[in-house]
C-alpha cells in the first residue's frame, strides 16, 4: 500500500496536519495494513476541527471502502462498509421506504464518521443519536484482528466505539437499523422568532419530528436571539431527482466574511420567511442537508478557515447562558453567519457522546484577530 504524504485539514480549514495517508480501495487490504502499522481511520473529513487529523502520524482514509453489503427490506436492516456516505444511503433506500434514522446537517459524512462522533440530527429529542440505531459494528483492532461487536457481546467496547473518535480501532462496516421513509419530502413550517425567549418557548411547545433554529448572532438589544424556527414532519411527496451541485471554485479572500456581508446575509435569510411564516414541502436532501448544495462552501471563509463552537446547555441554565453568549459574540463584532440552535433529548449511545437533554448552539467563527480570544471566553 502506497502512503501519501500530504497536508490536510478538517472542514473548518483552520487546523492542518501533515502526515501520511493510506487509502485502501479493497476490503482485503485493510486488516493487513493495520497489522503492519496501527493507524487511526478517518472518514470524509467533515469534522470541523481536529478529530480527523493525525499530525506527524499516519491515518487510513476510509472513503473508498464504501460497498453496501446487505439489506433486509422487511426490517430495514442495512449492512454497509464504513466509507458509505449517509446521503447516499438516503438516496438509495429512501425510494424503497427506508432512511437513516439520524442524519447530521450534511450528507457527505461517512457511516464510520457518523458512528465515531455519535452524531445527532434535527430529530434528536424524539429519535436519539446515530449510535442508538447501530445494531453491530465490525471493528479491526490495532493487531489487525477483525471482530463483530454488539451491545450484547461487547457492551463496553461497543459503547466506547460509538462516539469514540476512532480510538478503539477501525470500523470496517456496521449494521444499521434504518427508519421508515414515507415519501420524498418533508412538510416544513418556518416561523420568525422575535427574540430568544420566544425561540426557546417555541422549541418547548413544538411537537414536530424535526426541529432546527437559525439564530441571528448579530442581533442586539430587544431583538437579541431572533431567528427562524424550522419544523418538519415526513410527507409523502415524490422523490426529487438528484440535483446539480454548485461549487465555490476557489478559496475566497479572508475578508469575504466580514461584519457587513454577514449582517446583510443574516437579514436576507430572516426576511426570506414572511412575517406570517410559511409552510411548504421540501425534497428530503434540501431539508436535511441545506448546505450541501454548494460543494466546498467552507472556501468562503478564506485560507485561514473557521472554527465551529458548539456547546450544550441543560434546560435550566440555557436561557441565561445563551443570553450571555449572544452578548459576547455580538459585542465581539466577529461575524458569524448561520448559527444553529437545536433541542436535544437525553439519547446517547456512547460513553463519550455529545448529546444530553437541553439546547445546543453551534456557531461558525471565521479565523480572524480576536476569534481565538472569543472562543476561549
Amino acid at each position: 500500500m502506497r502512503w501519501k504524504t500530504t497536508t490536510y485539514s478538517g472542514w473548518g480549514n483552520h487546523l492542518r496536519a501533515t502526515g501520511q495517508l493510506a487509502r485502501p480501495e479493497k476490503t482485503a487490504l485493510l486488516a493487513p495494513l493495520l497489522a503492519d502499522e496501527p493507524a487511526p481511520a478517518i472518514g470524509n473529513r467533515r469534522s470541523y476541527g481536529d478529530a480527523c487529523l493525525n499530525s506527524d502520524g499516519r491515518a487510513i482514509d476510509m472513503t473508498r471502502l464504501d460497498n453496501l453489503i446487505g439489506f433486509d427490506p422487511d426490517s430495514g436492516t442495512l449492512h454497509a462498509q464504513a466509507g458509505v456516505l449517509i446521503g447516499d444511503i438516503l438516496d438509495i433506500f429512501g425510494p424503497l421506504g427506508w432512511m437513516p434514522a439520524v442524519m447530521p446537517g450534511t450528507g457527505f459524512v461517512t457511516l464510520g464518521g457518523a458512528i465515531a462522533n455519535d452524531v445527532h440530527g434535527k430529530n434528536h429529542e424524539l429519535t436519539g443519536s446515530f449510535g442508538q440505531h447501530v445494531a453491530s459494528i465490525e471493528l479491526i483492532n490495532q493487531a489487525g484482528d477483525i471482530e463483530t461487536i454488539t451491545t450484547e457481546t461487547h457492551p463496553d467496547l461497543f459503547r466506547a466505539t460509538i462516539g469514540g473518535l476512532g480510538q478503539t480501532g477501525v470500523i470496517a462496516s456496521a449494521t444499521l437499523r434504518l427508519a421508515r421513509c414515507p415519501g420524498g419530502t418533508i412538510a416544513v413550517s418556518e416561523r420568525r422568532m422575535a427574540d430568544l425567549d420566544a425561540f426557546l418557548d417555541a422549541f418547548h411547545g413544538s411537537t414536530a419530528t424535526y426541529q432546527v433554529g437559525w439564530i441571528d448572532m448579530g442581533a442586539r438589544g430587544e431583538s437579541m436571539g431572533r431567528g427562524i424556527l424550522e419544523e418538519g414532519s415526513p410527507a409523502e411527496g415524490r422523490f426529487a431527482k438528484p440535483r446539480k451541485l454548485r461549487a465555490v471554485p476557489f478559496t475566497l479572500p479572508g475578508f469575504a466574511i466580514n461584519r457587513l456581508s454577514v449582517r446583510a446575509f443574516n437579514a436576507l435569510y430572516l426576511r426570506r420567511v414572511p412575517k406570517s411564516g410559511r409552510e411548504r414541502e421540501r425534497p428530503l436532501r434540501d431539508f436535511f442537508f441545506p448546505l450541501d448544495r454548494v460543494l466546498n462552501w467552507n472556501r468562503v471563509y478564506g485560507k485561514r478557515g473557521f472554527q465551529q463552537f458548539q456547546c450544550i446547555l441543560p434546560d435550566e441554565t440555557a436561557p441565561a447562558a445563551l443570553r450571555e453568549m449572544l452578548d459576547l459574540i455580538s459585542a465581539s463584532g466577529i461575524a458569524s453567519p448561520l448559527s444553529v440552535l437545536k433541542r436535544l433529548g437525553p439519547g446517547r449511545a456512547g460513553m463519550l457522546s455529545f448529546p444530553m437533554q437541553g439546547f445546543t448552539l453551534a456557531v461558525d467563527i471565521a479565523t480572524k484577530k480576536g476569534s481565538n480570544a472569543l472562543l476561549a471566553s
Partner: protein, 245 residues
C-alpha cells in the same frame, strides 16, 4: 430493452464509479476482474444500488484463455451488449529502466491484452448490431514524455487499435469511444508526486455516460485536457526533447 455492460477491470475506482452509475439506471452488469471474492462483494453492492443482476467473472488480461466465460455470459443476455475496458497498469518509468522486461507487461496490460479481449468480443457485438465499447486510454498516449513513455506508448497503441475497431464496428452500428483521461484520483496515482488538476473517478464516470449518450468517438476527460494536450502535442520536437514535463 435491457442494457448489459461488461466491466473489464471492475476493481478500478473509475470502473466502480461507472458501474454504480450504470446500476442506478437499471443496467445489468458483468464484472470481470482478478479477485473472485472482491467481485462478489461488488456485485452485491451494485444489486443494492439498482442493478437487476450482476455477475462476476474471474479473468487475467494476460491470459486470453480466461476470456471465454465473460463473453459467454454476455452472449446469454438479450438486449444490448456494451463493454468498458478499464484494465491497465502503470509501473514507474524508473522501474522499467531497471527491469526492461516490464515493457512487455505494460504493453500487455494496456494494449495487447485489451485488444485481444475486444477482438474476441467483436463478433458478438457485430451480430447484435448495436452497443457501445468504451476503451480507457490516457493523455499519456498523446506524446512520449520522459516520465512515463513506456506506458504512454502502450496507450498510444491502444488508441490506434480503438480507432481501427471503430472503423470496423461502426459499420455494424456499434459505437467505439476512445477515452483519454487526465490525472484521476485512484489507487494508480495515490501518493505519486506532481499530480495536478486531479479529477474524481465519479466525474470521469459521468463523462463516460454522457459520451455514450452522445455517441462520441473520442473524448478527453475532464474536457480541458483536450486543450492541454493540443499545446503539448504542438511543441516542436527539438524543444520537447529537452523538456521534462
Amino acid at each position: 430493452m435491457t442494457e448489459t455492460w461488461i466491466i473489464l477491470g471492475a476493481s478500478s475506482a473509475i470502473a466502480r464509479a461507472f458501474a454504480r452509475q450504470q446500476a442506478a439506471t437499471g443496467a445489468r452488469l458483468i464484472l470481470a476482474g482478478r479477485n473472485h471474492q472482491e467481485l462478489l462483494e461488488q456485485a452485491q453492492d451494485l444489486c443494492l444500488r439498482g442493478a437487476p443482476e450482476a455477475d462476476a467473472a474471474e479473468f487475467d488480461i494476460r491470459n486470453p484463455g480466461t476470456f471465454a466465460p465473460i463473453i459467454d455470459l454476455a452472449a446469454q443476455t438479450t438486449g444490448t451488449v456494451n463493454a468498458a475496458v478499464f484494465v491497465g497498469s502503470m509501473p514507474e518509468q524508473a522501474d522499467i529502466d531497471r527491469d526492461p522486461d516490464l515493457l512487455d507487461t505494460v504493453v500487455l496490460d494496456n494494449f495487447t491484452g485489451p485488444a485481444h479481449f475486444l477482438h474476441a468480443l467483436a463478433p458478438l457485438l457485430e451480430a447484435r448490431g448495436k452497443g457501445t465499447v468504451i476503451g480507457i486510454g490516457s493523455v499519456a498516449g498523446d506524446r512520449g514524455r520522459l516520465g512515463n513513455y513506456a506506458y504512454g506508448a502502450a496507450k498510444a497503441g491502444f488508441h490506434t487499435y480503438l480507432s481501427g475497431l471503430r472503423n470496423r464496428l461502426g459499420r455494424k452500428g456499434v459505437q467505439v469511444i476512445t477515452v483519454k483521461p487526465g490525472f484521476v484520483d485512484t489507487a494508480m496515482t495515490w501518493g505519486i508526486e506532481g499530480m495536478f488538476l486531479v479529477a474524481s473517478p465519479e466525474d470521469i464516470a459521468k463523462a463516460l455516460i454522457t459520451a455514450t449518450r452522445k455517441r462520441k468517438n473520442e473524448i478527453y476527460t475532464p474536457w480541458f485536457w483536450r486543450y492541454i494536450m493540443l499545446i503539448i502535442r504542438n511543441i516542436p520536437e527539438f524543444i520537447f526533447k529537452k523538456l521534462s514535463i
